[in-house]
Protein backbone atom coordinates (compact mmCIF):
# COMPACT_ATOMS: atom_id res chain seq x y z
CA UNK A 1 0.00 0.00 0.00
CA UNK A 2 1.06 3.56 -0.42
CA UNK A 3 3.11 5.24 2.21
CA UNK A 4 2.35 8.89 2.03
CA UNK A 5 4.91 11.40 3.20
CA UNK A 6 7.69 9.59 1.35
CA UNK A 7 10.23 12.27 0.67
CA UNK A 8 8.92 14.81 3.14
CA UNK A 9 11.33 14.46 5.94
CA UNK A 10 10.11 17.55 7.72
CA UNK A 11 9.93 16.30 11.30
CA UNK A 12 6.64 17.96 12.04
CA UNK A 13 4.92 16.34 9.08
CA UNK A 14 6.06 12.98 10.33
CA UNK A 15 4.76 13.55 13.78
CA UNK A 16 1.69 15.58 13.01
CA UNK A 17 -0.61 12.72 11.95
CA UNK A 18 0.23 10.72 15.03
CA UNK A 19 -0.21 13.82 17.13
CA UNK A 20 -3.65 14.34 15.68
CA UNK A 21 -4.67 10.76 16.28
CA UNK A 22 -3.11 10.65 19.71
CA UNK A 23 -5.78 12.43 21.77
CA UNK A 24 -8.54 10.14 20.49
CA UNK A 25 -6.44 7.07 20.97
CA UNK A 26 -5.43 8.19 24.44
CA UNK A 27 -9.04 8.83 25.38
CA UNK A 28 -9.98 5.37 24.20
CA UNK A 29 -7.07 3.77 26.01
CA UNK A 30 -7.96 5.41 29.27
CA UNK A 31 -11.71 5.44 29.19
CA UNK A 32 -12.25 2.09 27.59
CA UNK A 33 -9.30 -0.15 28.24
CA UNK A 34 -8.38 1.48 31.50
CA UNK A 35 -11.91 0.97 32.70
CA UNK A 36 -11.89 -2.61 31.48
CA UNK A 37 -8.86 -3.26 33.65
CA UNK A 38 -10.63 -1.54 36.54
CA UNK A 39 -13.69 -3.74 35.99
CA UNK A 40 -11.44 -6.79 36.07
CA UNK A 41 -9.97 -5.61 39.34
CA UNK A 42 -13.44 -5.04 40.76
CA UNK A 43 -14.55 -8.49 39.71
CA UNK A 44 -11.96 -9.90 42.04
CA UNK A 45 -12.76 -7.65 44.95
CA UNK A 46 -15.32 -7.60 47.70
CA UNK A 47 -17.30 -4.73 46.21
CA UNK A 48 -20.95 -4.52 47.06
CA UNK A 49 -22.67 -1.17 46.99
CA UNK A 50 -19.59 0.80 45.98
CA UNK A 51 -16.07 -0.26 45.00
CA UNK A 52 -14.11 -1.73 47.86
CA UNK A 53 -10.55 -2.69 47.08
CA UNK A 54 -10.18 -5.83 49.10
CA UNK A 55 -9.01 -8.96 47.40
CA UNK A 56 -11.56 -11.71 47.04
CA UNK A 57 -10.03 -13.90 44.38
CA UNK A 58 -12.53 -15.64 42.15
CA UNK A 59 -15.31 -15.47 44.69
CA UNK A 60 -17.48 -13.29 42.51
CA UNK A 61 -17.06 -15.63 39.56
CA UNK A 62 -18.09 -18.58 41.66
CA UNK A 63 -21.19 -16.76 42.79
CA UNK A 64 -21.86 -15.72 39.24
CA UNK A 65 -21.85 -19.23 37.91
CA UNK A 66 -24.02 -20.39 40.81
CA UNK A 67 -26.85 -18.15 39.67
CA UNK A 68 -29.45 -19.91 37.56
CA UNK A 69 -30.48 -16.57 36.10
CA UNK A 70 -26.99 -16.10 34.61
CA UNK A 71 -27.43 -19.22 32.53
CA UNK A 72 -30.89 -18.05 31.58
CA UNK A 73 -29.35 -14.73 30.55
CA UNK A 74 -26.73 -16.42 28.38
CA UNK A 75 -29.27 -18.76 26.82
CA UNK A 76 -31.56 -15.85 26.10
CA UNK A 77 -28.75 -13.89 24.52
CA UNK A 78 -28.04 -16.80 22.20
CA UNK A 79 -31.71 -17.07 21.20
CA UNK A 80 -32.34 -13.37 21.03
CA UNK A 81 -29.04 -12.52 19.37
CA UNK A 82 -29.26 -15.10 16.64
CA UNK A 83 -32.91 -14.34 15.86
CA UNK A 84 -32.36 -10.61 16.01
CA UNK A 85 -29.38 -10.62 13.70
CA UNK A 86 -30.64 -13.17 11.22
CA UNK A 87 -34.19 -11.87 10.91
CA UNK A 88 -33.14 -8.22 10.78
CA UNK A 89 -30.79 -9.07 7.96
CA UNK A 90 -33.32 -11.23 6.11
CA UNK A 91 -36.11 -8.69 6.54
CA UNK A 92 -33.85 -5.75 5.79
CA UNK A 93 -32.58 -7.42 2.68
CA UNK A 94 -36.05 -8.32 1.49
CA UNK A 95 -37.40 -4.82 2.06
CA UNK A 96 -34.37 -3.34 0.34
CA UNK A 97 -34.76 -5.56 -2.69
CA UNK A 98 -38.46 -4.75 -2.86
CA UNK A 99 -37.86 -1.05 -2.49
CA UNK A 100 -35.24 -1.21 -5.19
CA UNK A 101 -37.85 -2.18 -7.77
CA UNK A 102 -38.65 1.26 -9.01
CA UNK A 103 -41.29 1.99 -6.38
CA UNK A 104 -42.94 5.32 -6.77
CA UNK A 105 -43.59 5.87 -3.12
CA UNK A 106 -40.10 4.87 -2.04
CA UNK A 107 -39.45 8.28 -0.56
CA UNK A 108 -42.45 7.87 1.72
CA UNK A 109 -41.86 4.23 2.61
CA UNK A 110 -38.21 4.56 3.57
CA UNK A 111 -38.77 6.79 6.60
CA UNK A 112 -41.63 4.56 7.68
CA UNK A 113 -39.29 1.60 7.97
CA UNK A 114 -36.54 3.71 9.44
CA UNK A 115 -38.42 5.66 12.10
CA UNK A 116 -38.45 2.95 14.80
CA UNK A 117 -34.70 3.35 15.09
CA UNK A 118 -35.24 6.95 16.08
CA UNK A 119 -37.42 6.09 19.05
CA UNK A 120 -35.85 5.31 22.35
CA UNK A 121 -37.37 2.44 24.24
CA UNK A 122 -37.95 4.58 27.26
CA UNK A 123 -40.43 5.99 24.78
CA UNK A 124 -41.92 3.01 23.03
CA UNK A 125 -41.82 0.44 25.82
CA UNK A 126 -45.28 1.16 27.11
CA UNK A 127 -46.88 1.15 23.68
CA UNK A 128 -45.06 -2.07 22.88
CA UNK A 129 -46.22 -3.65 26.12
CA UNK A 130 -49.83 -2.76 25.47
CA UNK A 131 -49.60 -3.89 21.92
CA UNK A 132 -48.29 -7.34 22.77
CA UNK A 133 -50.34 -7.82 25.91
CA UNK A 134 -53.03 -10.42 25.23
CA UNK A 135 -55.79 -8.59 27.06
CA UNK A 136 -55.22 -5.22 25.46
CA UNK A 137 -53.33 -5.66 22.25
CA UNK A 138 -53.25 -7.76 19.13
CA UNK A 139 -54.92 -10.83 20.57
CA UNK A 140 -57.75 -8.76 21.92
CA UNK A 141 -58.28 -6.89 18.67
CA UNK A 142 -58.13 -9.91 16.39
CA UNK A 143 -60.55 -11.73 18.63
CA UNK A 144 -62.76 -8.69 18.40
CA UNK A 145 -62.75 -9.12 14.64
CA UNK A 146 -64.31 -12.50 15.12
CA UNK A 147 -61.36 -14.89 15.29
CA UNK A 148 -62.29 -16.15 18.72
CA UNK A 149 -59.52 -18.68 19.03
CA UNK A 150 -56.68 -16.46 17.95
CA UNK A 151 -53.98 -16.53 20.57
CA UNK A 152 -50.95 -14.33 20.79
CA UNK A 153 -49.93 -14.36 24.38
CA UNK A 154 -46.20 -14.84 23.94
CA UNK A 155 -45.45 -11.78 26.02
CA UNK A 156 -46.82 -13.41 29.13
CA UNK A 157 -45.52 -16.93 28.65
CA UNK A 158 -42.16 -17.64 30.25
CA UNK A 159 -41.08 -19.89 27.40
CA UNK A 160 -42.06 -17.50 24.62
CA UNK A 161 -41.47 -14.07 26.12
CA UNK A 162 -37.94 -13.79 24.77
CA UNK A 163 -39.36 -14.04 21.27
CA UNK A 164 -41.47 -10.97 21.83
CA UNK A 165 -38.35 -9.12 22.87
CA UNK A 166 -36.82 -10.26 19.60
CA UNK A 167 -39.89 -9.03 17.69
CA UNK A 168 -39.69 -5.61 19.30
CA UNK A 169 -35.97 -5.43 18.62
CA UNK A 170 -36.41 -6.47 15.02
CA UNK A 171 -39.11 -3.85 14.56
CA UNK A 172 -36.68 -1.27 15.81
CA UNK A 173 -33.58 -2.15 13.85
CA UNK A 174 -34.59 -3.79 10.58
CA UNK A 175 -35.25 -0.44 8.91
CA UNK A 176 -31.68 0.55 9.52
CA UNK A 177 -30.45 -2.71 8.02
CA UNK A 178 -32.77 -2.14 5.07
CA UNK A 179 -31.15 1.23 4.54
CA UNK A 180 -27.70 -0.31 4.54
CA UNK A 181 -28.66 -2.92 1.97
CA UNK A 182 -30.53 -0.47 -0.19
CA UNK A 183 -27.44 1.67 -0.39
CA UNK A 184 -25.39 -1.38 -1.21
CA UNK A 185 -27.80 -2.36 -3.96
CA UNK A 186 -27.56 1.09 -5.43
CA UNK A 187 -23.84 0.71 -5.62
CA UNK A 188 -23.94 -2.35 -7.83
CA UNK A 189 -22.73 -1.88 -11.34
CA UNK A 190 -25.64 -2.46 -13.68
CA UNK A 191 -23.42 -3.36 -16.60
CA UNK A 192 -22.84 -6.66 -14.93
CA UNK A 193 -26.55 -7.16 -14.45
CA UNK A 194 -27.37 -6.34 -18.05
CA UNK A 195 -24.79 -8.82 -19.21
CA UNK A 196 -26.30 -11.51 -17.01
CA UNK A 197 -29.79 -10.78 -18.33
CA UNK A 198 -28.56 -10.96 -21.90
CA UNK A 199 -27.08 -14.35 -21.06
CA UNK A 200 -30.58 -15.49 -20.10
CA UNK A 201 -30.30 -15.60 -16.31
CA UNK A 202 -33.59 -15.39 -14.41
CA UNK A 203 -34.22 -12.68 -11.83
CA UNK A 204 -33.84 -15.15 -9.05
CA UNK A 205 -30.47 -16.36 -10.29
CA UNK A 206 -29.25 -12.84 -10.80
CA UNK A 207 -30.02 -12.01 -7.22
CA UNK A 208 -28.64 -15.19 -5.83
CA UNK A 209 -25.42 -15.38 -7.81
CA UNK A 210 -24.50 -11.77 -8.38
CA UNK A 211 -26.33 -9.25 -6.25
CA UNK A 212 -26.18 -10.93 -2.88
CA UNK A 213 -22.50 -11.86 -3.04
CA UNK A 214 -21.75 -8.26 -4.00
CA UNK A 215 -23.50 -7.13 -0.87
CA UNK A 216 -20.98 -8.91 1.29
CA UNK A 217 -19.52 -5.77 2.81
CA UNK A 218 -23.01 -4.64 3.76
CA UNK A 219 -23.67 -7.99 5.40
CA UNK A 220 -20.56 -7.68 7.50
CA UNK A 221 -21.33 -4.16 8.67
CA UNK A 222 -24.91 -5.09 9.42
CA UNK A 223 -23.69 -7.98 11.54
CA UNK A 224 -21.38 -5.74 13.53
CA UNK A 225 -23.96 -3.08 14.19
CA UNK A 226 -26.66 -5.62 15.05
CA UNK A 227 -24.39 -7.66 17.29
CA UNK A 228 -23.42 -4.51 19.12
CA UNK A 229 -27.05 -3.56 19.59
CA UNK A 230 -28.08 -7.04 20.65
CA UNK A 231 -25.46 -7.14 23.37
CA UNK A 232 -26.21 -3.68 24.62
CA UNK A 233 -30.00 -3.98 24.55
CA UNK A 234 -30.99 -2.98 28.05
CA UNK A 235 -33.73 -0.37 27.55
CA UNK A 236 -35.61 -2.67 25.21
CA UNK A 237 -35.92 -5.54 27.66
CA UNK A 238 -36.63 -3.45 30.72
CA UNK A 239 -39.33 -1.42 29.03
CA UNK A 240 -41.05 -4.38 27.43
CA UNK A 241 -40.91 -7.13 30.05
CA UNK A 242 -38.77 -5.91 32.92
CA UNK A 243 -36.86 -9.17 32.62
CA UNK A 244 -40.01 -11.23 33.15
CA UNK A 245 -42.22 -13.14 33.34
CA UNK A 246 -40.18 -14.47 36.22
CA UNK A 247 -36.71 -14.12 34.80
CA UNK A 248 -37.62 -15.50 31.42
CA UNK A 249 -36.23 -12.55 29.51
CA UNK A 250 -33.13 -11.91 31.53
CA UNK A 251 -30.19 -10.90 29.33
CA UNK A 252 -26.57 -10.31 30.28
CA UNK A 253 -27.10 -6.56 30.02
CA UNK A 254 -30.00 -6.61 32.46
CA UNK A 255 -28.22 -9.11 34.68
CA UNK A 256 -25.17 -6.86 34.82
CA UNK A 257 -27.18 -3.81 35.73
CA UNK A 258 -29.27 -5.67 38.27
CA UNK A 259 -26.33 -7.15 40.13
CA UNK A 260 -24.17 -4.05 40.02
CA UNK A 261 -26.83 -1.59 41.09
CA UNK A 262 -30.13 -3.06 42.22
CA UNK A 263 -28.72 -5.88 44.25
CA UNK A 264 -25.61 -4.01 45.33
CA UNK A 265 -23.33 -6.86 44.32
CA UNK A 266 -20.86 -4.94 42.27
CA UNK A 267 -18.24 -7.66 42.23
CA UNK A 268 -20.63 -10.16 40.66
CA UNK A 269 -21.82 -7.53 38.20
CA UNK A 270 -18.24 -6.81 37.22
CA UNK A 271 -17.53 -10.51 36.84
CA UNK A 272 -20.45 -10.84 34.44
CA UNK A 273 -19.15 -7.84 32.50
CA UNK A 274 -15.74 -9.49 32.16
CA UNK A 275 -17.27 -12.73 30.93
CA UNK A 276 -19.31 -10.79 28.37
CA UNK A 277 -16.24 -8.92 27.18
CA UNK A 278 -14.30 -12.13 26.80
CA UNK A 279 -17.16 -13.63 24.82
CA UNK A 280 -17.31 -10.61 22.54
CA UNK A 281 -13.56 -10.63 22.12
CA UNK A 282 -13.65 -14.29 21.19
CA UNK A 283 -15.92 -13.44 18.29
CA UNK A 284 -14.73 -10.00 17.33
CA UNK A 285 -10.99 -10.42 17.45
CA UNK A 286 -10.81 -13.17 14.80
CA UNK A 287 -13.23 -11.21 12.67
CA UNK A 288 -11.29 -7.97 12.99
CA UNK A 289 -8.08 -9.81 12.30
CA UNK A 290 -9.37 -11.32 9.08
CA UNK A 291 -10.96 -8.06 8.10
CA UNK A 292 -7.96 -5.86 8.63
CA UNK A 293 -5.69 -8.34 6.99
CA UNK A 294 -7.64 -7.91 3.79
CA UNK A 295 -6.63 -4.43 2.93
CA UNK A 296 -3.36 -5.64 1.70
CA UNK A 297 -5.22 -5.54 -1.56
Amino acid sequence: MSHPAPGLKRGLQDWLPKLVLAPSFALVLVFVYGFIVWTAVLSMSKSRILPVYKWAGFDAYERLFAQPSWYMALKNLAIFGSLYISICIALGLMLAILLDQRIRIEGALRPIYLYPMALSFVVTGTAGKWFLNPGMGIQNTVRGWGFESFTFDWLVRPDMAIYTVAIAGIWQASGFVMAMFLAGLRGIDNEMLKAATVDGASTFTIYRRIVIPLLRPAFLSAVIVLAHMAIKSYDLVIALTGGGPGNATELPSTFMYSYTFTRSQMAVGSASAMIMLMGIAAIMVPYLYSELREDRR
Partner: protein, 295 residues
Protein backbone atom coordinates in the same frame (compact mmCIF):
# COMPACT_ATOMS: atom_id res chain seq x y z
CA UNK B 1 -34.53 5.83 -8.63
CA UNK B 2 -32.72 2.61 -9.18
CA UNK B 3 -30.64 1.80 -12.20
CA UNK B 4 -30.73 -1.86 -11.39
CA UNK B 5 -34.33 -2.63 -11.68
CA UNK B 6 -34.29 -1.47 -15.25
CA UNK B 7 -31.82 -4.25 -15.88
CA UNK B 8 -33.57 -6.80 -13.76
CA UNK B 9 -37.13 -5.95 -14.66
CA UNK B 10 -36.59 -6.99 -18.22
CA UNK B 11 -35.95 -10.49 -16.98
CA UNK B 12 -38.93 -10.50 -14.64
CA UNK B 13 -42.25 -12.25 -15.27
CA UNK B 14 -45.74 -10.80 -15.83
CA UNK B 15 -45.14 -7.19 -14.87
CA UNK B 16 -48.40 -6.28 -13.19
CA UNK B 17 -48.66 -9.32 -10.94
CA UNK B 18 -45.19 -8.72 -9.66
CA UNK B 19 -45.98 -5.08 -9.02
CA UNK B 20 -49.08 -6.01 -7.05
CA UNK B 21 -47.15 -8.47 -4.94
CA UNK B 22 -44.33 -6.05 -4.35
CA UNK B 23 -46.52 -3.10 -3.45
CA UNK B 24 -48.73 -5.33 -1.36
CA UNK B 25 -45.86 -6.65 0.72
CA UNK B 26 -44.36 -3.22 1.18
CA UNK B 27 -47.64 -1.72 2.29
CA UNK B 28 -48.39 -4.53 4.71
CA UNK B 29 -45.01 -4.10 6.33
CA UNK B 30 -45.47 -0.36 6.42
CA UNK B 31 -48.73 -0.85 8.29
CA UNK B 32 -47.07 -3.21 10.75
CA UNK B 33 -44.22 -0.80 11.39
CA UNK B 34 -46.58 2.09 11.86
CA UNK B 35 -49.00 0.47 14.30
CA UNK B 36 -47.08 1.21 17.51
CA UNK B 37 -46.78 4.82 16.42
CA UNK B 38 -50.50 4.84 15.78
CA UNK B 39 -51.18 3.51 19.27
CA UNK B 40 -48.97 6.19 20.77
CA UNK B 41 -50.55 8.99 18.80
CA UNK B 42 -54.10 7.81 19.39
CA UNK B 43 -53.50 7.48 23.12
CA UNK B 44 -51.99 10.92 23.31
CA UNK B 45 -55.21 12.50 22.11
CA UNK B 46 -57.50 10.64 24.48
CA UNK B 47 -58.68 11.54 27.94
CA UNK B 48 -57.65 9.36 30.89
CA UNK B 49 -61.12 7.94 31.37
CA UNK B 50 -61.24 6.83 27.78
CA UNK B 51 -57.88 5.15 28.09
CA UNK B 52 -58.83 3.37 31.26
CA UNK B 53 -61.96 1.95 29.74
CA UNK B 54 -61.01 1.37 26.20
CA UNK B 55 -59.42 -0.32 23.31
CA UNK B 56 -55.90 0.77 22.51
CA UNK B 57 -56.37 0.65 18.77
CA UNK B 58 -59.50 2.78 18.76
CA UNK B 59 -59.42 6.35 17.58
CA UNK B 60 -60.11 8.92 20.28
CA UNK B 61 -63.80 9.62 20.78
CA UNK B 62 -63.24 13.14 21.97
CA UNK B 63 -59.84 14.19 20.80
CA UNK B 64 -58.07 16.70 22.98
CA UNK B 65 -54.71 18.38 22.68
CA UNK B 66 -54.54 18.98 26.38
CA UNK B 67 -52.09 16.12 27.00
CA UNK B 68 -49.71 17.69 24.47
CA UNK B 69 -49.84 21.10 26.08
CA UNK B 70 -49.38 19.53 29.44
CA UNK B 71 -46.44 17.43 28.31
CA UNK B 72 -44.63 20.42 26.87
CA UNK B 73 -45.36 23.03 29.45
CA UNK B 74 -46.98 21.90 32.67
CA UNK B 75 -46.42 18.24 33.43
CA UNK B 76 -44.69 17.48 36.67
CA UNK B 77 -41.16 16.18 36.37
CA UNK B 78 -40.47 15.99 40.06
CA UNK B 79 -41.36 19.07 42.00
CA UNK B 80 -41.15 21.48 39.09
CA UNK B 81 -44.22 21.34 36.93
CA UNK B 82 -43.09 22.93 33.73
CA UNK B 83 -43.23 20.05 31.32
CA UNK B 84 -40.31 18.77 29.33
CA UNK B 85 -39.44 21.90 27.42
CA UNK B 86 -36.50 22.89 29.62
CA UNK B 87 -34.98 19.45 29.34
CA UNK B 88 -35.45 19.51 25.62
CA UNK B 89 -33.06 22.45 25.41
CA UNK B 90 -30.66 20.68 27.76
CA UNK B 91 -30.55 17.78 25.38
CA UNK B 92 -29.91 20.06 22.42
CA UNK B 93 -27.13 21.82 24.26
CA UNK B 94 -25.60 18.44 24.95
CA UNK B 95 -26.13 16.69 21.64
CA UNK B 96 -24.92 19.40 19.29
CA UNK B 97 -21.40 19.79 20.69
CA UNK B 98 -21.06 16.06 21.29
CA UNK B 99 -21.99 15.21 17.72
CA UNK B 100 -19.84 17.95 16.21
CA UNK B 101 -16.76 17.11 18.23
CA UNK B 102 -16.97 13.34 17.84
CA UNK B 103 -17.59 13.68 14.11
CA UNK B 104 -14.66 16.02 13.65
CA UNK B 105 -12.35 13.79 15.63
CA UNK B 106 -13.61 10.75 13.75
CA UNK B 107 -12.87 12.44 10.44
CA UNK B 108 -9.35 13.36 11.45
CA UNK B 109 -8.74 9.91 12.84
CA UNK B 110 -10.03 8.26 9.69
CA UNK B 111 -7.80 10.53 7.63
CA UNK B 112 -4.71 9.68 9.63
CA UNK B 113 -5.41 5.97 9.70
CA UNK B 114 -5.82 5.72 5.94
CA UNK B 115 -3.60 8.37 4.37
CA UNK B 116 -0.79 8.68 6.86
CA UNK B 117 -0.13 5.12 7.76
CA UNK B 118 2.39 4.26 10.37
CA UNK B 119 3.53 1.05 11.84
CA UNK B 120 0.87 -0.43 14.07
CA UNK B 121 -1.95 1.54 12.50
CA UNK B 122 -4.03 -1.60 12.22
CA UNK B 123 -3.68 -2.37 15.89
CA UNK B 124 -4.67 1.17 16.75
CA UNK B 125 -7.73 0.94 14.54
CA UNK B 126 -8.59 -2.49 15.86
CA UNK B 127 -8.40 -1.25 19.44
CA UNK B 128 -10.59 1.71 18.68
CA UNK B 129 -13.10 -0.52 16.95
CA UNK B 130 -13.27 -3.03 19.75
CA UNK B 131 -13.92 -0.14 22.11
CA UNK B 132 -17.41 0.10 20.61
CA UNK B 133 -18.39 -2.98 22.54
CA UNK B 134 -17.71 -1.95 26.09
CA UNK B 135 -20.82 -2.31 28.26
CA UNK B 136 -21.88 1.08 29.50
CA UNK B 137 -22.78 -0.20 32.94
CA UNK B 138 -19.11 -0.97 33.55
CA UNK B 139 -17.97 2.56 32.94
CA UNK B 140 -20.50 4.40 35.05
CA UNK B 141 -18.65 4.39 38.33
CA UNK B 142 -15.10 5.04 37.14
CA UNK B 143 -16.33 7.73 34.78
CA UNK B 144 -18.21 9.36 37.65
CA UNK B 145 -14.97 9.43 39.57
CA UNK B 146 -13.10 11.04 36.70
CA UNK B 147 -15.79 13.61 36.10
CA UNK B 148 -15.83 14.45 39.77
CA UNK B 149 -12.10 14.99 39.78
CA UNK B 150 -12.41 17.25 36.77
CA UNK B 151 -15.14 19.23 38.47
CA UNK B 152 -17.60 18.25 35.78
CA UNK B 153 -19.95 16.25 37.92
CA UNK B 154 -23.63 16.78 37.20
CA UNK B 155 -23.06 19.06 34.24
CA UNK B 156 -23.85 19.10 30.55
CA UNK B 157 -20.16 19.56 29.73
CA UNK B 158 -19.41 16.33 31.53
CA UNK B 159 -22.06 14.55 29.49
CA UNK B 160 -20.63 15.95 26.29
CA UNK B 161 -17.21 14.57 27.21
CA UNK B 162 -18.66 11.15 27.96
CA UNK B 163 -20.54 10.94 24.68
CA UNK B 164 -17.55 12.11 22.67
CA UNK B 165 -15.32 9.47 24.21
CA UNK B 166 -17.71 6.60 23.65
CA UNK B 167 -18.66 7.76 20.18
CA UNK B 168 -15.09 7.84 18.92
CA UNK B 169 -15.05 4.17 18.01
CA UNK B 170 -17.97 4.46 15.62
CA UNK B 171 -17.11 7.80 14.08
CA UNK B 172 -13.59 6.64 13.41
CA UNK B 173 -14.97 3.48 11.83
CA UNK B 174 -17.27 5.35 9.48
CA UNK B 175 -14.67 7.82 8.28
CA UNK B 176 -11.89 5.30 8.05
CA UNK B 177 -13.91 3.07 5.76
CA UNK B 178 -14.97 6.01 3.67
CA UNK B 179 -11.49 7.47 3.23
CA UNK B 180 -10.09 4.01 2.57
CA UNK B 181 -11.89 4.12 -0.76
CA UNK B 182 -10.70 7.61 -1.52
CA UNK B 183 -8.12 7.69 -4.30
CA UNK B 184 -4.66 8.20 -2.89
CA UNK B 185 -3.33 9.68 -6.12
CA UNK B 186 -5.09 12.92 -5.31
CA UNK B 187 -3.27 13.05 -2.02
CA UNK B 188 0.05 12.37 -3.65
CA UNK B 189 -0.35 15.04 -6.26
CA UNK B 190 -1.34 17.51 -3.59
CA UNK B 191 1.75 16.65 -1.61
CA UNK B 192 3.78 17.05 -4.74
CA UNK B 193 2.39 20.53 -4.92
CA UNK B 194 3.65 21.13 -1.44
CA UNK B 195 0.39 20.84 0.53
CA UNK B 196 0.69 19.93 4.18
CA UNK B 197 -1.32 17.69 6.46
CA UNK B 198 -4.16 20.02 7.27
CA UNK B 199 -4.31 21.63 3.88
CA UNK B 200 -4.89 18.29 2.21
CA UNK B 201 -7.60 17.49 4.70
CA UNK B 202 -9.35 20.78 4.32
CA UNK B 203 -9.03 21.24 0.59
CA UNK B 204 -9.31 17.73 -0.76
CA UNK B 205 -10.93 15.29 1.64
CA UNK B 206 -13.46 17.40 3.48
CA UNK B 207 -15.30 18.75 0.46
CA UNK B 208 -16.00 15.22 -0.73
CA UNK B 209 -16.99 13.98 2.70
CA UNK B 210 -20.52 15.33 2.83
CA UNK B 211 -22.25 11.94 2.58
CA UNK B 212 -20.27 10.28 5.32
CA UNK B 213 -20.46 13.33 7.56
CA UNK B 214 -24.21 13.19 7.34
CA UNK B 215 -24.24 9.46 8.10
CA UNK B 216 -22.03 9.97 11.11
CA UNK B 217 -24.10 12.87 12.36
CA UNK B 218 -27.31 10.91 12.05
CA UNK B 219 -25.93 7.88 13.83
CA UNK B 220 -24.39 9.90 16.64
CA UNK B 221 -27.40 12.16 16.99
CA UNK B 222 -29.74 9.19 17.34
CA UNK B 223 -27.62 7.42 19.89
CA UNK B 224 -26.73 10.43 22.00
CA UNK B 225 -30.20 11.95 21.92
CA UNK B 226 -31.76 8.67 23.04
CA UNK B 227 -29.20 7.83 25.67
CA UNK B 228 -30.60 7.43 29.14
CA UNK B 229 -28.00 5.72 31.30
CA UNK B 230 -25.26 8.33 31.01
CA UNK B 231 -27.78 11.12 31.29
CA UNK B 232 -29.22 9.89 34.54
CA UNK B 233 -25.86 9.12 36.08
CA UNK B 234 -23.98 12.24 35.13
CA UNK B 235 -26.54 14.99 34.82
CA UNK B 236 -29.71 14.32 36.77
CA UNK B 237 -31.43 17.38 38.14
CA UNK B 238 -31.39 20.71 36.40
CA UNK B 239 -29.01 19.75 33.63
CA UNK B 240 -30.88 16.56 32.89
CA UNK B 241 -31.35 15.61 29.25
CA UNK B 242 -34.79 15.04 27.88
CA UNK B 243 -34.63 11.24 28.20
CA UNK B 244 -34.24 11.52 31.96
CA UNK B 245 -37.18 13.88 32.17
CA UNK B 246 -39.22 11.58 29.97
CA UNK B 247 -38.40 8.65 32.18
CA UNK B 248 -39.46 10.63 35.22
CA UNK B 249 -42.74 11.37 33.55
CA UNK B 250 -43.41 7.86 32.37
CA UNK B 251 -41.96 5.68 35.08
CA UNK B 252 -43.36 6.96 38.32
CA UNK B 253 -43.62 3.94 40.58
CA UNK B 254 -46.39 4.56 43.05
CA UNK B 255 -48.14 7.53 41.58
CA UNK B 256 -51.04 7.81 39.21
CA UNK B 257 -50.04 7.34 35.58
CA UNK B 258 -51.26 9.73 32.94
CA UNK B 259 -50.74 7.63 29.87
CA UNK B 260 -51.93 10.29 27.45
CA UNK B 261 -49.44 12.86 28.67
CA UNK B 262 -46.74 10.19 28.65
CA UNK B 263 -47.35 9.34 25.00
CA UNK B 264 -47.49 12.98 23.98
CA UNK B 265 -44.22 13.63 25.76
CA UNK B 266 -42.72 10.55 24.14
CA UNK B 267 -43.59 11.74 20.65
CA UNK B 268 -42.30 15.25 21.37
CA UNK B 269 -39.11 13.68 22.65
CA UNK B 270 -38.70 11.65 19.48
CA UNK B 271 -39.41 14.54 17.10
CA UNK B 272 -35.87 15.85 16.58
CA UNK B 273 -34.54 12.43 15.70
CA UNK B 274 -37.50 11.73 13.46
CA UNK B 275 -37.01 15.02 11.67
CA UNK B 276 -33.30 14.36 11.26
CA UNK B 277 -34.10 10.95 9.80
CA UNK B 278 -36.71 12.13 7.37
CA UNK B 279 -34.81 15.17 6.13
CA UNK B 280 -31.44 13.57 5.91
CA UNK B 281 -32.72 10.21 4.69
CA UNK B 282 -31.51 10.84 1.20
CA UNK B 283 -27.99 11.63 2.33
CA UNK B 284 -28.12 8.59 4.52
CA UNK B 285 -28.40 6.42 1.47
CA UNK B 286 -25.62 8.01 -0.43
CA UNK B 287 -23.32 8.09 2.58
CA UNK B 288 -23.85 4.49 3.45
CA UNK B 289 -23.26 3.53 -0.12
CA UNK B 290 -20.01 5.36 -0.24
CA UNK B 291 -18.20 3.46 2.39
CA UNK B 292 -19.78 2.99 5.74
CA UNK B 293 -21.15 -0.32 4.56
CA UNK B 294 -17.87 -1.63 3.39
CA UNK B 295 -16.76 -4.09 6.00
Amino acid sequence: MSRNEAAIATAAGPGWLNRVVIYGLLLIFAAVYLTPLFVMLATSFKSLDEIRGGDILALPRDPTIEPWLKAWGSACIGVTCEGIKGYFWNSLRMVVPAVLISTMLGALNGYVLTKWRFRGHKIVFGLMLFACFIPFQSVLIPMARVLGTLGLSNSITGLVLVHVVYGLGFTTLFFRNYYEAFPTELIHSAQMDGAGFFTIFRRILLPSSAPIIVVCVIYQFTNIWNDFLFGVSFAAGESAPMTVALNNLVSSSTGVKEYNVDMAAAVIAALPTLIVYVLAGRYFMRGLMAGAVKG
